[in-house]
């Protein structure tokens, strides 16, 4: 092999490559799942529980079936196979099994000639409920032992004491992923008793396993196809309509289409766990952490979904990227009658990062230290034991470099504008410049990359060389994050050809790529494609005695020895791979062990302008340093960083599902507030490229870290501006005014 200093290929790694799906999405030509149609298709609609907890006294679908145009109605009685589904544990009935355990739980599904007739069919179903008292308080649920998972981390000397002690109680409200594309799907019967299914998903293979079980069909009779997806953020890790429309397609022998509307989407997917956190940090008078003690309750809602893994993350990242030898954590996820919680960007770490970073600020204040100085003093680095698990840190872990970068960003100029778009309250014209106080806050975070705790985490990919270039075959879900571009860039760089097409295989054509979550696809499917492409290239070079692969063939000493056509003379040349990350293990009874395959760090500095008298906030600027291993696509990376930060700003200042005795009071975009462009801060970013110990070209996943520490940084900045404790996010105007 010759080593090139300059890549010959266009569109390789490190470039701002344009997304292949970018122009079609901008021009409205991209087929999202909600755009799919099939000849003769029916539309489905769902009857949902109007109670958070209730028993079905009677249920009669015949009035719905009497409506002209209604073709079928299914209830739990119609489920032919296993009655339950669930990713970690099958505990949720496909349709309500006689007891509704959360508001909006699906009860029956109607298929009809058009969406309006389907909705009328839903309304015609005769159902009588007997409401029960909902369990909506997570502390009451814990006291009643309604537990999904409990983790007790015990590390070091639990008799250790620090001379400086700060305690705090923190809460985080329920955030929704609010992807712009709602849940949508199309199920087409194949005429042989099987189904082809396109549904918004983050992991078609985990769906597939659950679907065939519920339908009692052999694996090959259900094919889950990757569909066009408008955002995910964790909302699509657990199934929505998958079994419903598949079953209706089997019964009616017609294609079934379903699209949730916005309000239904709010009940149709899992949320971020709300959390209650009690923390005690103990330190030496110099500020070295001696001991961290915490109790955390996560509200898992009615069914388990990914609560167990979320609980693990909340526990193992409850201290942050800091050295601490004595740690005692009791972290529990509980079962309530609130809407089910599951995956959302940051996955458990968002919650405890807010608690831990708030505590670090409190400790700095107690010690009269600068917030970053305290963090620098306690910075954890590669090669040291991780504070909660004791695992020796492998790979890049540049805590100090992140603090250095945060300190070197210039501050924005003072507020000089009277333009309302630059003031808290914005176009509402509430706030004159004279009413504004500025605040600055910092936070750091560490999060695991890919699946932890002994999970057999792998990604399959197949790379094919053809006479015109290369194909990458995968079932990894592109949900808008840009994996499609990275896979092309990786394959181009290895194979020396600019012509790389990503082909989305269904579940019958290729094995699992694992979930598009946990910031894992860049490393996992990216890693699989890299390894497969390298193996393919080396095979071709060996076969032709060549030393370099280029766009037009194989070369030796700069002379072409075979064209691509010649290389593929007896058919395309391919290489399939199942790629795994470094092995991990399950935690022992004290939460100790080699649990995590790798980490990514981030740090944020938030600058906010606050109108303290009205409690209104404008986030002016966020400066971030992120540990990304290696930048593969600068523009795509910046998209992740800006978008993730905005999601963190939303959690800090406005995003919350208001849940009252299990019922969501604001399931609309009118009242579930997402930041607008006027709420978006200016973002500056520095990327730390230290190269990880695994993954393509040393790259790390980058999707989650921007969301994690941006929230506590904004909260810290608002605290600095107002002098208020502000222990709950989102921080609402009344929290600041105290009215």
């Amino acid at each position: 092999m010759t080593t090139r200093t300059k890549p010959r290929v266009r569109g390789g790694i490190g470039e701002d490559v344009v997304r292949p799906d970018g122009i079609p999405k901008l021009t409205g030509n991209f087929a999202f799942a909600s755009d799919l149609v099939a000849d003769g298709m029916l539309w489905a609609a769902t009857l949902r529980s109007p109670h958070a907890h209730a028993v079905i006294v009677s249920l009669d679908t015949t009035p719905a079936l009497a409506i002209p145009g209604v073709r079928a109605v299914i209830t739990q009685d119609d489920v032919p196979g296993h009655p339950l589904f669930g990713q970690e544990k099958a505990d949720q009935p496909v349709l309500c099994d006689g007891v509704a355990r959360y508001w909006g739980e699906p009860v029956a599904v109607v298929a009809a000639d058009d969406p309006e007739t389907a909705r009328r069919g839903v309304e015609a179903i005769a159902i009588e409920w007997e409401p029960l008292a909902p369990v909506s308080d997570p502390e009451a649920a814990e006291n009643s032992d309604h537990i999904f998972r409990r983790i007790n981390v015990r590390r070091g000397d639990l008799g250790a004491k620090g001379e400086v002690v700060v305690e705090g109680y923190y809460e985080i409200g329920t955030q929704d992923q609010a992807p712009l594309g709602t849940e949508a799907g199309l199920a087409i019967p194949d005429g042989e008793g099987g189904i082809d299914l396109w549904v918004t998903s983050q992991w078609v293979h985990i769906d597939h396993g659950q679907i065939v079980r519920c339908l009692d069909l052999p694996d090959h009779m259900v094919r889950c196809h990757p569909a066009g997806i408008g955002g995910a953020f964790g909302a699509r890790e657990d199934m929505s309509m998958h079994v419903h429309i598949s079953l209706l397609a089997l019964i009616t022998r017609r294609p079934i289409k379903m699209v949730y509307d916005r309000s239904e989407s709010f009940v149709g997917h899992v949320k971020r766990h709300s959390a209650r956190m009690w923390y005690r940090h103990e330190a030496t008078p110099e500020g070295r952490l001696v001991r961290v003690t915490a109790k955390v309750i996560l509200d898992g809602g009615a069914y388990m979904h990914t609560s167990a893994a979320v609980t693990g993350n909340a526990a193992f990242f409850a201290v942050g990227p800091y050295v601490c030898d004595n740690v005692e954590l009791d972290v529990v996820s509980v079962k309530t009658n609130n809407p089910p919680a599951g995956a959302m960007r940051g996955f458990g770490v968002v919650q405890t990062c807010f608690g831990a970073e708030s505590q670090m600020d409190r400790l700095a204040q107690e010690l009269d230290m600068e917030p970053l100085a305290l963090r620098r003093l306690n910075a954890l680095e590669a090669g040291q034991p991780f504070s909660t698990t004791g695992q020796i840190i492998e790979g890049a872990f540049p805590t100090t470099a992140i603090i250095d970068a945060l300190e070197s960003f210039p501050l924005p100029p003072p507020l000089e504008s009277d333009d309302p778009v630059h003031l808290p309250g914005g176009t509402g014209l509430t706030t004159p410049r004279s009413a504004v106080v500025r605040g600055i806050g910092y936070a750091l975070s560490a999060k695991n990359l890919a699946f932890s705790e002994g999970f057999d985490d792998y990604a399959e990919a197949r790379v094919v060389l053809t006479p015109v270039g290369a194909e990458v075959h995968t079932a990894a879900m592109e949900v808008g994050q840009g994996l499609v571009t990275l896979l092309q860039q990786i394959a181009r760089t290895v194979l020396g050809t600019g012509h790389v097409a990503v082909v989305w295989d269904d579940t019958s054509q290729i094995g699992s790529a694992g979930s598009t979550s946990a910031s894992r696809q860049t490393q996992m499917t990216g890693g699989a494609v890299h390894a497969a492409a390298v193996a393919l290239r080396d095979k071709v070079l060996d076969d032709h005695g060549a030393d370099e692969l280029r766009e037009d063939g194989a070369y030796r000493d700069g002379e072409r020895v075979a064209t691509l056509e010649e290389i593929c003379a007896s058919g395309p040349v391919d290489h399939w791979i199942r790629f795994r990350h470094p092995e991990t293990e399950e935690p022992d009874e004290n939460g100790q062990g080699n649990l995590h395959p790798g980490y990514a760090l981030a740090g944020h500095r938030a600058v906010v302008d606050v109108d303290p008298e009205l409690g209104l906030v404008r986030v002016v600027q966020i400066d971030t340093a992120q540990d990304v291993g290696k930048v593969l696509n600068p523009k795509a990376l910046m998209g992740q960083v800006e978008g993730g930060i905005l999601q963190g700003v939303g959690l800090a200042t406005m995003e919350e599902l208001v849940i009252d005795k299990g019922i969501i009071r604001n399931p609309t975009f009118t009242d579930y507030l997402l930041p607008t462009s006027l709420d978006a801060p200016h973002v500056n970013a520095v990327f730390i490229e230290e190269g990880d110990h695994w993954g393509p070209f040393g790259a790390k996943g980058a999707g989650e870290p921007p969301t994690i520490s941006s929230t506590p940084a904004v909260a810290a900045a608002i605290r600095q501006a107002t002098g208020k404790a502000l222990t709950r996010v989102p921080i609402l105007p009344q929290d600041i005014t105290g009215t």
Partner: protein
């Protein structure tokens, strides 16, 4: 759903007289949301977009079909300020002042301005012609008005002696495109000060005691301004809901009224 696209006001009024259950459809930014959420399934609708008479506008009379986008540059400053805060550009291009009046939400962004200027609502029906109602009589409760089944909202009228100064502001939890938790218009002129508020009572309201108090002051002192804010906070009748709390709305109403008065006096 039956749909009539009226070509002029007379045709719209005839259709409404024949189908009193029909809904008028102007911008559709309220009605169609209700339809899409299946909260409301009107049997028929009368489209008003082709009715040019409803888009007539002078300084003292604004047609019900004038859109927020047009009102953003209206000479009445507080109305233009309010128009700028309604929804997104797409909503402002479609939504109308008449729709805001007909929906009569407590949070209607255009309503405090009408209340502050003592506007009247011009209604018309096929059989009884025009009648003009003071805003206080027109808005009777949360999303309830005194309109009769055969009537259309035609325009808002404003008295001639408009105050020299008028200012609008609204509080929401984000910096644009938000339903207000408190909105306020303060006017100041030769006839004194008026204070109107939204989202703090079932209907738009005037803070009459605060007005009386401040109108007795020639050059309000700091203490007088503080007392003015306190009375506004006391006079409003807000509730706690998923958007805000009663106590925050009381506090915000007082702060906003005082700030707007200071702007009018500066």
């Amino acid at each position: 759903m039956e749909f009539v696209a009226a070509k002029d006001l007379d045709e719209a009024l005839v259709a409404k007289a024949n189908h009193p259950d029909a809904e008028f459809l102007a911008g559709g930014t309220d009605l169609m949301v209700e339809v899409n959420l299946a909260h409301h399934r009107p049997s028929s609708a009368i489209g008003l977009r082709r009715v040019d008479e409803l888009r007539e506008m002078t300084d003292l009379r604004i047609g019900a079909g004038v859109t927020w986008a047009t009102l953003e540059s209206h000479p009445h400053r507080a109305l233009a300020q309010a128009a700028r805060t309604v929804g997104s550009p797409q909503i402002r291009a479609a939504g109308t002042l008449g729709g805001n009046i007909g929906t009569a939400s407590p949070a209607g962004d255009g309503l405090p301005w009408i209340a502050a200027l003592d506007g009247t609502i011009e209604l018309r029906s096929k059989d009884r012609g025009t009648r003009v109602m003071p805003w206080r009589e027109f808005f009777v409760g949360v999303k309830r008005t005194a309109i009769l089944p055969d009537e259309a909202i035609v325009a808002v009228r404003i008295p001639e002696d408009t105050p020299a100064r008028q200012e609008f502001a609204k509080i929401g939890v984000r910096n644009a495109m938000v339903i207000s938790t408190v909105s306020c218009v303060v006017t100041h002129g030769d006839n004194g000060t008026t204070v109107a508020l939204g989202s703090v009572a079932p209907t738009p309201m005037r803070a009459t005691r605060a007005e009386e108090m401040i109108n007795a002051e020639k050059n309000p002192s700091e203490a007088a301004l503080a007392e003015f804010a306190r009375i506004v906070s006391e006079e409003v009748r807000p509730i706690t809901d998923h958007r805000s709390t009663e106590s925050y709305r009381r506090h915000g109403a007082g702060v906003l009224a005082r700030r707007l008065l200071e702007r009018c006096l500066s």
